[in-house]
């Protein structure tokens, strides 16, 4: 039972980061019906970017934040303006291959700009552990959870209470209707991409802080958000949270109980098994809309 509790708690800690990262995919999908396959690469890229600003350029934390926000905006704007906007009206395949090609470009840029072995972030958080009853977790994991919760709260405030959030929700509902009410839909798409890359970036930095800045593992971690959104349902923000925590917990349980049987490493692949099972059993996820199509 102790092992079970321990696994569930550490699963929730990881799952919070997954939930935050997958929020990015959901936001883009809700706004513009584009499924972003480049999410994993964006997670890795932003983690490298922040590492460069922080360690190589030795900038102060506030400067790093401003600089990253600016760069994220440039990325969001150019992705939307130069790649996805020209593809409007083309079949869905075009958008899918476009995000895959974008992933390719970003991966190549990472290889070009930051070649060689993995980097590490400087240690700023005390390395001790927190003990709650029989459950133990590190300060770092606890802090990650808190940061994710705060980022999530910030997003929900923005989405529910501000005018921009209202227009975003309107756009998600119906493009044409939103446009007729004077909502600048193209600008909303850029905002959606900005938020998505920001969430990916926060998730990426948190993950890289724990596991090191390393291209392949970070991309694989980011790709796990695909399983999160499929499990939670593509259109649902609540789904991203529930799905993220569920994937985190299931992954930890799978690793805890199955790893001794197969010899380790099962958490790399367990989310994808869940994804396939979800698609077989309940293709639209836990909270997604079931589509009724007409010819």
């Amino acid at each position: 039972m102790d092992l079970f509790l321990q696994l569930v708690v550490s699963g929730i800690m990881t799952g919070a980061v997954y939930a935050l990262m997958s929020l990015g995919i959901v936001i883009i999908y809700k706004a513009s019906s584009v499924f972003n396959f480049a999410h994993g690469s964006i997670v890795a890229f932003t983690a490298y970017l922040v590492w460069s600003c922080l360690v190589q350029l030795e900038l102060a934390a506030a400067v790093v934040i401003c600089l990253s926000l600016g760069l994220i905006f440039i990325m969001a704007f150019s992705i939307q303006r130069f790649i996805l906007q020209p593809l409007t009206g083309q079949p869905m395949l075009a958008a899918i291959v476009a995000t895959l090609a974008l992933a390719e470009v970003i991966n190549g840029l990472i290889t070009l700009i930051w070649p060689g072995p993995a980097r590490v972030y400087p240690k700023v958080i005390p390395s001790g552990v927190i003990q709650l009853g029989s459950v133990v977790f590190t300060w770092e994991a606890g802090l990650n959870f808190a940061i994710c919760a705060a980022a999530f709260g910030g997003f929900m405030f923005f989405f529910q209470k501000t005018k921009m959030g209202l227009t975003m929700r309107g756009t998600a509902e119906d493009h044409q209707l939103a446009r007729s009410e004077g909502v600048p839909v193209k600008r909303i798409f850029v905002v959606a991409w900005f938020i998505a890359i920001l969430m990916a970036g926060i998730g990426g930095v948190l993950m890289a802080k724990m596991h090191g800045v390393n291209q392949e593992p970070l991309i694989a971690l980011g790709m796990k958000s695909l399983s999160v959104v499929i499990l939670g349902g593509m259109e649902s923000i609540l789904g991203a949270v529930v799905g993220g925590l569920a994937i985190g917990v299931l992954e930890a349980l799978g690793a805890g109980y199955l790893d001794p049987l197969v010899g380790g490493g099962i958490e790399e692949v367990f989310p994808f098994v869940i994804l396939l099972v979800t698609l077989l059993v309940k293709p639209y996820g836990l909270f997604g809309y079931e589509r009724i199509e007409r010819v």
Binding site: P86, Q90, L93, L100, T111, P115, E268, V269, L276, P283
Partner: protein, 354 residues
């Protein structure tokens, strides 16, 4: 049979003439020239370097035929094609390494293994379509690669499996030239097979499912069966490509089948032109030749831009290929094949504009 391809004047008197794949003497002449060029001129004149490029292109063409059937004709986007090729390669290598099968006897094993994998991966397509299929094949890619990596003694994990070079009637095909004949033979055969497959009832059923699956079902097609069959056929093509690759390279490791390759295959389909056999061939040639160009030009780039000299060819190739795919998506989504048709048409119509 008429001599030239003409907008009017090609009269077909029987149904068989109308349905014939080669309808003009001109086209027959062109195809014969192409065949002679591939069968005689290239192996006689080319050096080993050029032959090795042709061999890689041949294997790619076979894999592309499969992906074209699945994605181009049936509209199911597969982001896991590299994993299917990996399964074909590993099955062949494991059969010959552990059980001592001769190289030709491992081909049915490879086809069977990839075909049944395609059947399993295709199962979720019962209820999903569009990007959901892409996600499910992507997940299948991660799972298959993980299984191959953790296969213990059967796949030898990160070390990979050795694979002997093919022997036919006592002749070992361990040279580039020997492999060229084997690979090009299979590539030609699979191209002809694919060309004829998409002309059958099943081929038209796939196009119907791609264009509108609900309407196709309404017309009495068993959509799920068509989708599953497309998956199986496509993965068997991948199995053939993997089988050839294993015996051509002589050694297979898991690094030969990255996710990047699956994206490249999709990109080749876009660049070549989706849903046409010639397009798939164009795409394979364009990407592989571009990759060779990057490899041979990268020392020059390193001299011109010293900042890039330390970085690998892989990074430049990835960025370049990604940009090429994006360029084609935005500027010419119908691909090189469409350009080729435009060029052909302008020759035919010259000196009139249209």
């Amino acid at each position: 049979m008429k001599l030239f391809k003409k907008p009017c004047g090609t009269f077909d008197e029987t149904y068989a003439q109308d349905m014939a794949p080669i309808r003009t003497l001109y086209r027959k002449f062109l195809l014969t020239c192409l065949f002679l060029c591939l069968a005689l001129v290239v192996p006689l004149l080319a050096n080993n370097y050029f032959l090795s490029i042709m061999n890689i292109i041949g294997i790619t063409v076979i894999a592309m035929m499969g992906l074209n059937i699945l994605t181009g004709y049936c509209g199911l986007i597969s982001v896991g094609h590299a994993a299917f090729i990996a399964v074909g390669a590993y099955t062949s290598a494991a059969l010959s390494h552990h059980l001592g099968f001769p190289f030709w006897a491992t081909l049915p094993g490879s086809l069977l293994a990839t075909g049944s994998l395609g059947l399993i991966v295709g199962l979720p397509s019962l209820r999903i379509k569009g990007f959901y299929v892409a996600v499910s094949t992507l997940a299948a890619h991660y799972i298959v690669i993980w299984l191959l990596l953790h296969g213990g003694e059967v796949t030898k994990g990160v070390w990979g499996l050795p694979c002997e070079s093919p022997v036919i009637l006592g002749h070992s095909l361990n040279t580039e030239r020997g492999m060229y004949f084997l690979i090009m033979g299979f590539a030609t055969a699979s191209t002809i097979l694919a060309f004829n497959l998409v002309r059958t009832r099943f081929g038209r059923a796939m196009v119907a499912v791609r264009d509108n699956d609900i309407a196709a079902e309404f017309m009495g097609l068993d959509v799920f069966r068509v989708k599953l069959l497309a998956f199986v056929i496509s993965s068997m093509y991948a199995g053939l490509a993997g089988w050839l690759q294993a015996h051509y390279l002589g050694m297979i490791t898991i690094e030969q089948f990255p996710l990047m390759d699956s994206i490249w295959y999709l990109g080749m389909l876009i660049v070549g032109g989706m849903g046409s056999i010639t397009g798939a061939i164009f795409g394979a040639f364009a990407f592989r030749l571009l990759a060779q160009a990057v490899i041979s030009l990268s020392p020059l780039v390193g001299q011109l831009v010293p900042a890039l000299s330390g970085s690998s060819v892989a990074g430049i190739t990835q960025v370049l290929f990604g940009l090429v795919i994006l360029f084609f998506l935005v500027v010419e989504p119908r691909g090189l094949n469409h350009r080729w048709q435009v060029v052909l048409a302008s020759f035919r119509l010259w000196p009139f504009p249209y």
